[in-house]
């Protein structure tokens, strides 16, 4: 974990918009509506994403305010699951199934259509037995000051986070740029906008 302990690796966002009265209840409802839900019949390669409580990725109730709201800070995690059948294991099982079919039908070769059916059935069976690859990315949102930290720097994870956050709360988090560090100093920001990259190589390099 990074938000509660250990090293922090974060991208900072601005969250513009008014915090509604009674946001504790409405945000709890929103988190529950977009909480992580497992699927009984996963499809290969499909990614499932949703919010989970920060202390345990199996908790998705957000019923106890004390578990996710600390004064002005809302803390929760984005869980992303992906189920993939190991390719080598899949191929090995498929060859066995094809050989068994040929023996049963007393045929030399298995037609492509049958092979396709066997493949589909096997994929479904193995997916049920395969544990998902689970990623959990923490979020801490300073609700009153309008900024948040997302504990991951990959573009893919950040894009997924922005989308789900918007769907959940109706608010668009904006990644902060270096110019945001200037705060309200618009003149300085304007001056920097007109600059271009310079060459810092010493003479004669």
């Amino acid at each position: 974990m990074g938000i509660l302990s250990g090293a922090l690796t974060v991208r900072r966002y601005r969250v513009d918009g008014d915090v509604p009265d009674g946001f504790r209840d409405s945000y709890a409802d929103a988190l529950r509506s977009y909480a992580f839900q497992d699927k009984s019949s996963p499809t290969p390669g499909e990614e499932l994403a949703g919010w989970v409580e920060i202390h345990n990725l199996l908790d998705t109730g957000f019923e106890d305010l004390n578990s996710w709201l600390y004064d002005r800070y809302a803390i929760f995690s984005l869980r992303v699951d992906k189920r993939v059948v190991p390719a080598k294991l899949f191929r090995a099982h498929l060859e066995k199934r094809v050989a068994a079919w040929c023996q049963e039908q007393q045929r030399q070769r298995c037609p492509a259509s049958v092979r396709g059916e066997l493949k589909e059935l096997l994929e479904f069976e193995l997916l049920q037995r395969t544990l998902p690859r689970v990623s959990v990315h923490e979020v801490i949102w300073n609700v009153t000051d309008g900024w948040l930290l997302f504990h991951n720097l990959s573009d893919r994870a950040n894009e997924r986070f922005i989308k789900l956050f918007f769907e959940t709360f109706g608010l668009q988090p904006q990644p902060e740029a270096p110019l945001d560090l200037l705060g309200s100093d618009a003149t300085l920001a304007e001056a920097l906008l007109t600059t271009g990259g310079m060459d810092y190589r010493p003479e004669g390099s």
Binding site: R12, E176, L182, R201
Partner: protein, 184 residues
């Protein structure tokens, strides 16, 4: 709350200027070397010590990925680091230490967003309770203010004509002198 349009908020986003973050990291490195690792960040934050720690990463100007990573005890003084700048590479990551009063922060600043990575906070309260969270966020906000104060100093310097007339030649000369010393 559906109807997500990924482009909807882009009009309000602050423009990202990739060269600025890279120049800021170079300015931090040069400032630490030329100021005796000390900076006055104004009335609120006061005087701090700062230095480049154990990581510098470079990229070529037209690529996003790191082209050279220099780690170890003192990469800021290594010939490879100066050679990277002399060869036209730009900084992508810089590991910075800042000491304010008794508190020491370590952070890897990553361009172009200036994301904070591998942040080590001088935490007093530990555990996963409420108090530890407040302590961490208090320290995180202090670190954010320190980085912002450095960036403001850089921005003030960068937006004047003095940057091209004096600072850039000074940085070039600093890189060049070191290269000459190493050659010698």
């Amino acid at each position: 709350m559906s109807g997500y349009d990924p482009m909807a908020g882009f009009h309000e986003a602050t423009p990202m200027l990739p060269h600025l973050a890279a120049e800021f990291l170079l300015w931090l490195w040069w400032s630490a070397a030329s100021s005796g690792c000390r900076a006055d960040l104004g009335e609120e934050l006061g005087v701090v010590d700062f230095w480049v720690d154990d990581r510098l990463a470079f990229r070529t100007p037209d690529e996003g990925r790191a082209a050279a990573v220099i780690t170890g005890e003192n990469p800021a003084e290594s010939p490879e680091a100066r050679a990277a700048i002399a060869g036209g590479k730009v900084l992508r990551e810089l590991r910075l230490c800042i000491r304010r009063e008794e508190r020491e922060f370590s952070v890897t600043l990553k361009a172009p967003n200036l994301d904070l990575a591998q942040v080590s906070l001088p935490q007093v309260v530990t555990g996963d309770g409420e108090e530890a969270l407040y302590d961490r966020m208090f320290l995180y906000e202090e670190l954010h203010s320190l980085v912002a104060a450095f960036f403001q100093r850089f921005a003030q310097a960068r937006s004047t004509s003095d940057w091209g007339d004096a600072t850039v030649p000074s940085i070039r000369s600093w890189v060049g002198e070191r290269m000459v010393a190493l050659d010698g």
